[in-house]
């Protein structure tokens, strides 16, 4: 096992841990194992893993051959470069703009908070809520404090690495642009931000764990994650509204709602210490930036043990699944599926999608974003045109953003926590494997996309008037075609047949081309709308394409795959 740099750095803080009553050597050993495992897993921690370092095993009787190409850390370094780039391009300009520290630092911290919290929620929730640890580590003579510390440091080490690569360029720039005091303050506040993000997320989960149990709890955690990602996106937009409305060079007055936005807490010390603005509200905000993370940390340390105890609740079996009225779904399945096999797999996929924990964890936050994204873009353009202009415009095409969820939903369709159950595809007397693909894909469209589309469609009709009805039908036709196209682009592995551990390259690599294709469809839609009856022609063409594609596009893997 490797010596990690993280551990060497941690050694410097050893007296701190010892003083807190932590068995440091044990903590170090647990972390070493955890970091090794992360590195080997096609980890979600840094999201990406390429095919080249996937281990391969051949077992012949008792003899095991392992052809394992050496795990490379270059991948995570690659994504760290991405964060560094985002930091350099996305954050640095705000430091250069002017001397309104409150606004500049506010924006900088909102970007940092946004990125760190979303990563925390999407990638580290599984570490925080890991149940496997209980049977392996908690049955050993290691005290709870050390185990809790190991978990926290484990997560913190990633968040800090991430934050460091995100802020390395901005930090250097700030040193030259605003001088050493600014730099030091920035660094200090960043540490506070890191603690705040990790501990506040843990506390939210702690609250959820306290009041719910079993399956319900897992659902609630799903909703919290969706809520967080939506709230963060909206909050992020608000931050930019603030900048739009107030000129960046005009002096900043504190309003009551600034106290609710954490970025302003972290920005206030700059105003106070470097600009000498010691007004009461700035002082309060500054105090919040230290007090809240500190308070969260104290509460977390105090109740960290209950966290582990509540976690056991997740393992305890939940209540029965409610037997919902199956009538609607059954008739929908009959309506949109052409064969009985297809309808069966439609029902299966629909259920898997609504129950499969990891699938929900990964897709649902995107659902939240897909709903609100069209409005964010409409609001952006509303700032320089009137409401009447808006309702006459072509901005209803922003509804295409609702389909943003399809690339990730479709891409994740082949993964499952219960992937081993997929042997059924092979053992079933199926004539045509395409029924599996079609059923699952139709379920993805009706279960995930359709409800959101109907919701946004109704709101859009209220905004733009009934004239957009034909357009909405065209959009729906685009989506059915588009979904099938991106499904094929993904290579068409059987639904729910691979471990999430094999999940590779869900990031920009696959999503960008998919989004590009969607943009092309939207562009053609716009072009068609310029001609009289153009939309009708567009819809008719789409209908034909749909027909051909859904009939002939699924020749892939009609045969039974070799497992």
């Amino acid at each position: 096992m490797k010596e990690f740099l993280t551990l060497k750095l941690l050694d410097r803080a050893k007296p701190l841990f010892v003083k807190a009553g932590v068995d440091y050597d044990m903590l170090r050993r647990i972390l070493q194992v955890k970091l090794t495992m992360d590195q080997r897993r096609a980890s979600t921690v840094f999201g990406k893993s390429s095919g080249s370092n996937k281990p391969e095993y051949i077992r012949k009787g008792a003899v095991l051959k392992q052809t394992y190409t050496k795990p490379s850390s270059s991948l995570s370094i690659k994504s760290l470069w991405m964060y560094a780039l985002i930091g350099a391009i996305g954050i640095t300009p705000f430091l250069l703009l002017g001397d309104n520290y409150m606004l500049q630092a506010g924006i900088v911290f909102s970007i940092i908070l946004f990125l760190l919290t979303t990563t925390m929620v999407s990638d580290f929730s599984s570490v925080l809520l890991d149940l496997k640890d209980r049977h392996i580590l908690h049955t050993k003579p290691v005290d709870a404090r050390t185990l809790a510390a190991a978990k926290t440091v484990h997560i913190l080490s990633y968040i800090v690495t991430l934050a460091a690569s995100l802020t390395i360029v901005p930090l250097i720039v700030s040193l030259f642009r605003h001088g050493l005091p600014f730099f030091l303050l920035f660094l200090f506040e960043l540490i506070a931000v890191n603690i705040f993000v990790v501990v506040a997320t843990a506390l939210v989960y702690l609250l959820v764990l306290k009041f719910f149990d079993g399956e319900k709890l897992k659902d609630v955690i799903n909703y919290v994650q969706i809520g967080l990602s939506v709230a963060l996106t909206i909050g992020y937009q608000i931050m930019f509204r603030v900048v739009d409305i107030i000129n960046i060079n005009v002096s900043f007055t504190v309003a009551w709602w600034h106290f609710l936005l954490p970025p302003f807490w972290f920005a206030a010390p700059f105003e106070w210490l470097l600009h000498g603005n010691s007004s009461f509200s700035v002082l309060i905000l500054s105090a919040l930036s230290i007090m809240v993370p500190l308070l969260c940390a104290v509460v977390y340390l105090r109740f960290g043990n209950s966290f582990e105890r509540y976690l056991q609740k997740m393992a305890d079996s939940g209540k029965f699944e409610e037997r919902k009225n199956r009538g609607l779904h059954l008739s929908l399945a009959r309506l949109i599926c052409r064969t009985r096999d297809e309808a069966v797999f439609y029902g299966f996929a629909a259920r898997m999608m609504s129950r499969e924990r990891e699938f929900k964890l990964k897709v649902y936050p995107v659902l939240g974003l897909a709903v609100i994204f069209p409005y964010i873009f409409i609001l952006n353009s509303l700032s320089d045109s009137s409401w009447a202009d808006l309702s006459r415009s072509s901005l209803y095409l922003f509804i295409y953003f609702t389909a943003m969820l399809m690339p990730s939903a479709v891409g994740l369709l082949r993964y499952s926590g219960n992937y081993k159950g997929s042997y059924i595809y092979g053992t079933l007397p199926l004539k045509d494997m395409s029924a599996i693909h079609k059923g699952a894909l139709k379920a993805a469209i009706t279960k995930l996309f359709l409800p959101l589309f109907l919701l946004n469609g109704i709101i859009f009709i209220l905004i733009f008037g009934p004239r957009i009805l034909p357009d909405l039908i065209a959009v729906m036709l685009v989506i059915t075609l588009y979904t099938a196209i991106i499904y094929r682009m993904n290579g068409g592995g059987l639904p729910f047949s691979e471990s999430f551990g094999n999940l590779r390259q869900t990031g920009m690599g696959k999503t960008l081309p998919a989004i590009f294709i969607l943009a092309v469809f939207a562009g053609m839609h716009y072009a068609a709308s310029l001609f009289p009856f153009g939309v009708y022609v567009y819809a008719a063409v789409l209908l034909l394409l749909n027909f051909f594609y859904w009939h002939n596009g699924f020749f892939l893997s009609r045969t039974i795959p070799e497992s």
């Binding site: 095993y57 049977h135 908690h138 049955t139 050993k140 003579p141 290691v142 005290d143 105890r309 056991q312």
Partner: protein, 261 residues
């Protein structure tokens, strides 16, 4: 101290999950050298009892003393003398057997080199020497089970909780493990053996504890239970004591429904 109580002593143990009582006053004492077959129907409270003793489940009422000390009052130190094979094969399977077992040894406070050396020799005896440096994720079910067994014994514990320890093992390995258990008991170790396979429990246990509905309904040697219940096998005793007698009718109905087509 009475030697019979020296290893394990549970008195009046109650546990509920939100008003749903899974344990209703368990009283149990065990001494060194016993192999206790801990049996009962699904959901009877077997694994809850074991989880409480391992410190995984809190919020119980009653006293649990292991090695003479109350586990609610002591820290985690008592776990040093316990070995555990969980029912669900939870292990860090991206690690190799060498790495995993070393880590387990160290968690029990062993020195890394000593743990490695011991693990390697034990694995060799189980025929795992070739796979020792492969990741556990590539192992068969039986191989994983052997790793779990080794990791539960590495630190030479005095009290063992084994939950279906033979699952997935081939017939030859089963024979080895049964022999190992007998010898460990002969050396004065206490073994808690949970299983649903009554034939095995019947043969290896020196004492059988049957739990049903959160209460102990029978406790004694197999001979004791047989005289009391007038049944021939442990399976029959189990059926009788858990009030189950209609397996033939159920099987009949089952097959007739299958035939409906």
């Amino acid at each position: 101290m009475n030697p019979l109580e020296s290893v394990l002593s549970i008195s009046d143990l109650w546990m509920d999950y939100g008003g749903n009582y899974v344990l209703r006053g368990i009283d149990l004492k065990a001494g060194p050298g016993q192999i206790i077959g801990y049996i009962g129907p699904n959901g009877a409270g077997k694994s809850t009892t074991v989880k409480i003793m391992l410190g995984l489940v809190q919020g119980y009422r009653g006293t649990v003393k292991l090695f003479g000390t109350n586990i609610a009052e002591e820290g985690t130190n008592y776990k040093r003398r316990i070995g555990y094979v969980p029912e669900t094969a939870d292990l860090y399977d991206v690690l190799t057997a060498r790495e995993y077992l070393m880590f387990m040894g160290e968690l029990y406070g062993m020195e890394a080199g000593a743990a490695e050396n011991k693990a390697m020799r034990l694995a060799g005896l189980f025929g795992l020497d070739k796979a020792f440096d492969s990741r556990i994720s590539s192992y068969s079910k039986g191989m994983k089970q052997k790793i779990l067994l080794i990791s539960s014994l590495l630190h030479n514990p005095d009290l063992l909780f084994l939950d279906e320890p033979l699952s997935g093992l081939d017939a030859n390995s089963v024979m080895i493990v049964k022999e190992i258990m007998a010898r460990l008991a002969a050396q004065g170790k206490t073994i808690f053996y949970s299983s649903h396979i009554m034939d095995v429990v019947e043969k290896i246990s020196s004492r059988i504890v049957l739990i049903n509905g959160g209460q102990i309904v029978a406790d004694g040697s197999f001979e004791d239970l047989r005289t009391k219940s007038q049944e021939g096998t442990l399976e029959q005793i189990f059926n009788q004591l858990t009030g189950f007698s209609d397996h033939e009718e159920i099987a009949d109905s089952f097959v007739s429904i299958v035939k409906e087509g």
